[in-house]
Assembly symmetry: C2
Amino acid sequence: MRNLTEANVTEMAARSFAESKSDRFEFVIANLIKHLHAFAREVKLTHEEWNTGLQFLTDVGHITDGRRNEFVLTSDILGLSALVDLLNTAPGATQGSALGPFHEADAPLLENGASLVRNNEGEHVVIRGRVLSVDGQPIAGALMDFWQTAKNGLYPQQDSDQAPDNLRCRIRTDSDGSYCLKTIKPGGYPVPYDGPVGALLRAGGRHAWRPAHFHWIVSADGFQPVVTEVFNAEDPYIEGDAAFGVRESLVIQFTHKDSQEEAARFAVTNPFFLVNFDFHLQPLASAHKS
Amino acid sequence: MRNLTEANVTEMAARSFAESKSDRFEFVIANLIKHLHAFAREVKLTHEEWNTGLQFLTDVGHITDGRRNEFVLTSDILGLSALVDLLNTAPGATQGSALGPFHEADAPLLENGASLVRNNEGEHVVIRGRVLSVDGQPIAGALMDFWQTAKNGLYPQQDSDQAPDNLRCRIRTDSDGSYCLKTIKPGGYPVPYDGPVGALLRAGGRHAWRPAHFHWIVSADGFQPVVTEVFNAEDPYIEGDAAFGVRESLVIQFTHKDSQEEAARFAVTNPFFLVNFDFHLQPLASAHKS
């Protein structure tokens, strides 16, 4: 490649990985190079802009640690995370959405129907629904991992006033696939606006807010797990999620209930909100075929 | 964008920067998103691969410091740096090539014709040529910033046995645009192979070697400066530069000279190598028009 030119550099670079032992790796990296170069060609990227881009990545790298992943955030605000979620959702299965940085693997395993309200301020919410296969069969014993913000929009990791396990748990579905959880309305929050991603958002005239949401990871033996978020239709940022996490199928109505009888039935304080959401999982075998 | 779908997510993300005050920023970021998404779509990027990519960037960020810039290296081995150099070379001007991480702004200003050999081991080389405008007019007083490796393939920053200014200097061209420098043959070297870029190269079955080269930055009032490298045609890695820095126009013959008379004329030890290389600079005004 002594005769490298503007015309052949892309092919030369893409072909340079041809000795890889993995066909998939070779395919992915060759395409990464092809599209990265197509970008540089289309905008006729200058040295100054190239430097700015590398400095952005350096800044993102230096602010990223075990607690804050600014690369994930970069992917989120560019819509890449959403695209990967959407590309990898099987037809009929619940659509995926951002995992985010606040999941903890070892949330307490509670009884189905448990309450997470405890001493949290906020409006009470009953969430219920079922976990089903894409063909509508109930999935018994599905593991549902749940976490959310407090009313102030903070996760326990960001808020020393919350216990580490506040507003997070795991439950298992009943034999008919049903689940129920009592909690409070989560608070919306801005993604970190004080780092390089914040600067990028500001440069684009963009705000940093995400609509409030419940996080779920739903898994069951023999099924592809779903990592997703569920949003309140009435949230002021439902049309403008900075992280592109909202999809129509994940937006739910928080139905206001003012009935002592219903409140008693769910063992919550009246009034409260009732939300229904069913999850649909793709069997692993057909997921592998897709 | 509550109704985000696989079909519209790219347009939604690209349009999200539309409130930018800079048309150029908006154009660049919208195209970055378009091409990044096209890559993810073309390979149907999985969550696992997305995670691997973000972990790679995190590792690159964490190994990058004031002394080692693994992001520049990533750009180099993907051919992006070369493409940016090639896209930004004016017709007729000397082609650019990698700056690399070992340039120091304050190299000693020496007399034109100076020798950098001192106590360096290695074969002696006389480099000479002229700095010209793209229309062939000599440029007097052009500033030529020069640096290279010792015979062992190391720069002073990597080798405590070398003085900080070893094999680096700045000189100015004479009134006829000519320059001359006496030095030793540089040693080739591998790019860092112990970090994430090394792992990426190995995954692609690629070596890390760069052919030996002289680094130059040539600048003059009223002209676009050139950052480039000049390579020895006989180098064993001339056809396989891991950093894609070689271009045909930057490959020079090291002509072996065995003549006491010529050696005496250049005040070097016989035998020696003679290399000729002219630089061509683009006037700033027309560079801005291009």
